[in-house]
Symmetry: D2
Subunit: 401 residues, 4 copies
């Protein structure tokens, strides 16, 4: 193992090493595609527009990082023909050595979801939404994917225009029916978000609502924390602590933001917060680590897509490694005696320490490049796919007007 | 009944009238006392500094409004000798015709609560906090008060200095023990607040945490919503809807704010939001209206204290009357058909309508002054108490330094 | 004049009437078009997709309200061929009796603006942006439009990726060159916005930056306040007061929001705030009222577009009428003596008063329908255009994927 | 010089070293005193309550850090007899080797400032406030202190209760008169804050207002940025960049916060933001570094006061050293070519690097302890003053009630 600096003991390093051994993070297929804001998309020549291209890109990311061998799928975009696309996906899994990760139904894009999907006052539309959810569950089971990640974007834009109460009941019904269809190894992850695309009220606005709905649905339903889905000033690590305490944390959609759900790359705005979230997880003794799905959910509107993904995986590893450096026994002692400055210094010591040498050593010991971003640049991969894909991509630009 | 205007039918007016008949709002004893910010208090000559003065002021407010016959008590400030002050309170109740309202323990002022009260790492300090809570329960029972309103101000100021997880367990233990002591007609209301006086984390930060703690404590524990205790952008009426749905809404601490927990007078910043909160309650069909405690919790730092209280009661009545004007059947129909503009106009019609004539008529029919604020001015009450109290108050100014 | 209620004197009514006489509000062409969020657009059969349809819709709104005879144009969308579209616009002005309002350049949609337009590190791209601005100025002059409304959406998504400082200098250069091209009766309005579509930094983030840039550009540059472009908790009416004090207020983009730049209909979330903004304007004695451009800037993603526009104009009139009711002399007296409760009651008296009867009377005296929304419904206009446009609109749906 | 790690060149280290050579930070006298929230103060045995104790504590901090030889004074608290206390302060300067830093007038504590000081509608009260400001200027001149730091806490709590416009004029008048009294080497720093202690409007709410007021006052007036005085989501480093661009940055009040003006220790919540602020300053080429006053303004409500101060100075140095590591030439190149990921990695490389070894080496080369906090613990200083001061401090506890 490398010499970090005098302050990092052999024991510290072993703890970090062991933590790295068990850390995996899932990448989203849509992170390789062109995305944008309501004001338009900036098209990138290297963007993936087919599911095969997304598998190829994911394989490249995993070849460089070694910790991201699953890819989240978005049903509508990646399996446009629904269940009949399953064999194709399975073929791609074999070809690229990437397994299907969480399955993401789409409840926001169809024109009939204008006033809501599973909260829509129309029983027929709610029924259609349920069908899509049941298909998604079936797809997940066929692909041996554990998690169905449910983001319900329903809400309303104006006070008085919808009954908040009645819509709770609608949701409960659909979620229970979806839960009933889950296979023995499947889970349903309920995501929450305070606003956008609805602006006045979002039907699942916070972790409390997501938790209630998950419980009503059944024991395989857990809460999914998207780090960008909180009001300004929220203490996210406290929510993580509560969900762990209640045995209700299903996993994360990782990203960063400055104001709203900006879907920026993890740790780009507030890396200390990411460190604190990892700390809550690593100091937990009640939850099976593998029951927490670490997933990326970002929109790489401006950054190169493959570059952004590699950068995110590397940053996640490094912030996680910092959290693994925390000396829990010493910290607990100082917290108990309310030695504030000493406790904080002990905690922050781990954050200040440059863990990159040890992460690099870990990578090299697994025959991975020490610096995945540099390796990506040297590989010429992005240039290659840019050439292959650019003509096709130039045509697909959409805009606000 | 008065003629509001052409758009308000006889039936509408009866609905409002009936709603007014059942509306009562509790005033807090501390609303009559000198309060301030961390930068100092501005002393008012008419401020109350004894419990008798607070009872006198409450009686004056109720004489003018007729809907505020109970006064919330703060154990530490109003019963400084604890249980032995009970007879004195009972005597004041008889003298002033004001009953004791909710009982408010104090878990923030003692020096030993520096690092927390019921979440303090010290078992001894937690024990002391529990004792105070048990005393408060006993006081409540002796005074025939239904609710013990628990604001737990515990938290920490710096990441890493306290274990968020461990403190959850501490709280659960104390709250369960407190619940066990409740009499058959008593309830425990669990309040939440995202920040202040602790700045990094508050142990009960949001309604989800309050709800979990209430449930663990037992069936007599409900959630208390203080309208100033939310992050910017929170949809408070949605939380109210959820708590009603879950049969977990215990009551309100009403006030208004622009940014943080400013404790301004109700409706002074965003009256439309107050209207929406009342609407959720009035459109609820599952909860016993009397199970919802409507309480004021404000700090009248600059406004005259009795004036501010009368103004708040009157404003609460008027915004509540507006909400009572909403045509629920028509609104439900329009919500179901997603007729957004029509639904909003139906909803807002009630808000735009000037209900003051009907509220005035209701007051007069109960031998109350049509305009309580004007009546207060004419009564000379504030001048009288200013003269009586001013010398005493001049001495009690405290400051930041 | 109608009898409002006892509290509203003949003199009050005359003041409101006179205020209504001078109030005009501009509607945006894009408010009639399909808009959405980054997650997709919900297509409406009645949406306008051609400039002629937008003129027709604007004419309909003005026929019903009588106060919205100008329509803001978006250069890229409404004059896709640039200056050569001017004769076509002039023809439509004559046909529909609607004049061209403010001219809105587009600095965000072209692929080359990925990293900025007038702040782009590339001198060539900045030059292209300047060309577009100069064209916009020329279009404005040809159409006898006073204002070029400049929303610069430039910014960056990640710390360190752009030089904030250097970009200020780029902007100053382009804005000065644009100002130099303004005709004698033209103005340049500089808009600010704290985030979106850029997430880490927006080059013109607040009114202070907009003001500095306007001053550097020249005397015909003023600040444009979009009510949705502020951080949570901002006191917008205070900014309005400061801009009036500095003689730098050019106008408004009116809309409402709960959290971010939600572009909801005016007054739908916080009507009291709109009232307060109008109050600052109506209590100003230094600015020529006509120098303030009142413009709507909303996205009617869910509401019917023509309905939403009519509703907004009516609501703006009514909230403005409430502000006109304020008794300035009495209020000034009470503010001076710091009679807080009395001052607030005097101020709010105007807000509580139902001014709809007087606004209806004003409309009828101008041969306009008393209730424009009802009149719209009775006109069958929306049904008519839905039939005419629906086939065309069904094809144009875009989405996130 | 020490070996940081392979990535840090000799040249990098020299740059950091040179940067450390010129960095000084001022500590506030009130950081050693008991402070609290509106809910009460937790008294500390080691708290300073006399000006001599504050000088002693400051001397101790400077003995350990070597970069904090000036102490900001609060006129009301530290010179309670005003100008006649000057000789006493001068004596303490000589005794303790600490010079007087910025002079802080107090415009919030006197009872007559209830409705404002320099914005008060009463000309007499404004006159009194001006007198205090003129005294403060004179004190500053006598003490050879460069800066008078003006925090104007004026504002209002309720819409309509004060004239925002009129109060701007009041302020301008007083500030101009104060500026006129400044000596040739004195400056006036105008601070801004969006809320607290006033809740609806603060008269100097943001940097734009502070800048306007500073300009009106005169050329010796600059803007003071308190890092805790911003709305959630504000990009503070952008404001710093603008103030540098406009040659209007006077200095900083450093602290950290999670939600409001929490006055926590610098870098405790968001260290990356502090790094970014230092980066803007270090990449500036137009401002004289010495014209920027780096000052701490924190309330150590829970942390030990001397410990918190030492910790803050050390953290400031370390985050500043990280910023000094940034390779400006390389970064500028990557920003110009919009190489986002590379630019960000270059920028963040400096943040990830553990600069503590080089800061320690710098300290040792100046005969300072490598780790000031450890040295403080070993010195026994806090225990010593606790014993000396504890009896006195126990008596001085104040509270909310």
């Amino acid at each position: 193992m490398p010499d970090l600096n005098g302050a990092v003991t052999e024991q510290d390093q072993q703890r970090v090493w062991a933590a790295l051994d068990k850390f995996r993070i899932e990448i989203p297929s849509w992170g390789f595609a062109n995305t944008g804001t309501r004001f338009g998309k900036f098209s990138q020549p290297a963007a993936a527009s087919t599911i095969e291209e997304k598998f190829a890109d994911a394989a490249q990311v995993n070849a460089l990082t070694g910790v991201s061998s699953t890819m989240a799928l978005h049903v509508l975009w990646d399996l446009p023909s629904g269940k009949s696309d399953i064999p194709k996906i399975q073929q791609l899994e074999r070809t690229y050595g990437i397994r299907s990760g969480s399955i993401n139904p789409n409840l926001f894009q169809d024109q009939e979801y204008k006033y809501g999907s599973i909260c829509n006052p129309s029983a027929e539309i709610r029924g259609n939404a349920l069908s899509h959810l049941l298909d998604s569950v079936e797809i997940g089971r066929a692909l041996n994917s554990r998690d169905v990640s449910m983001w319900v974007s329903d809400g309303s834009n104006y006070p008085g225009t919808q009954s908040i109460r009645r819509r709770i009941e609608y949701m409960e019904e659909v979620l229970a029916a979806t839960h009933a269809a889950l296979g023995p190894d499947q889970r349903m992850l309920v995501e929450y978000k305070p606003f956008e695309p609805a602006f006045y009220h979002t039907d699942i606005a916070d972790w409390g609502m997501a938790l209630e709905l998950a419980r009503r649905a059944g024991p395989k339903a857990k809460v999914l924390v998207d780090t960008g889905h909180h009001l300004q000033g929220t203490n996210i690590e406290q929510i993580v602590a509560w969900l762990l305490h209640l045995n209700a944390l299903g996993g994360f959609h990782f990203n960063d933001r400055k104001f709203a759900d900006d879907d920026l790359t993890l740790g780009s705005i507030d890396p200390y917060q990411v460190f604190r979230i990892f700390h809550e997880i690593l100091s937990d003794t009640t939850t099976n680590f593998n029951d927490i799905a670490f997933m990326i959910d970002q929109s790489h509107n401006l950054k190169g897509k493959v570059e952004a993904m590699v950068q995110t995986v590397a940053t996640a590893q490094e912030l996680y490694a910092k959290a693994a450096l925390v000396d829990h026994a010493k910290l607990a002692e100082l917290q108990k005696s309310c030695s504030l400055v000493e406790a904080e210094e002990t905690f922050r010591e781990a954050f200040w320490t440059d863990v990159r040498p040890i992460v690099r050593a870990w990578r090299q010991s697994h025959n991975l490049p020490a610096n995945p971003l540099t390796a990506l640049a040297e590989s010429g991969y992005v240039e290659k796919i840019s050439q292959e894909r650019s003509a096709k991509n130039a045509a697909s630009v959409s805009s606000y007007a």
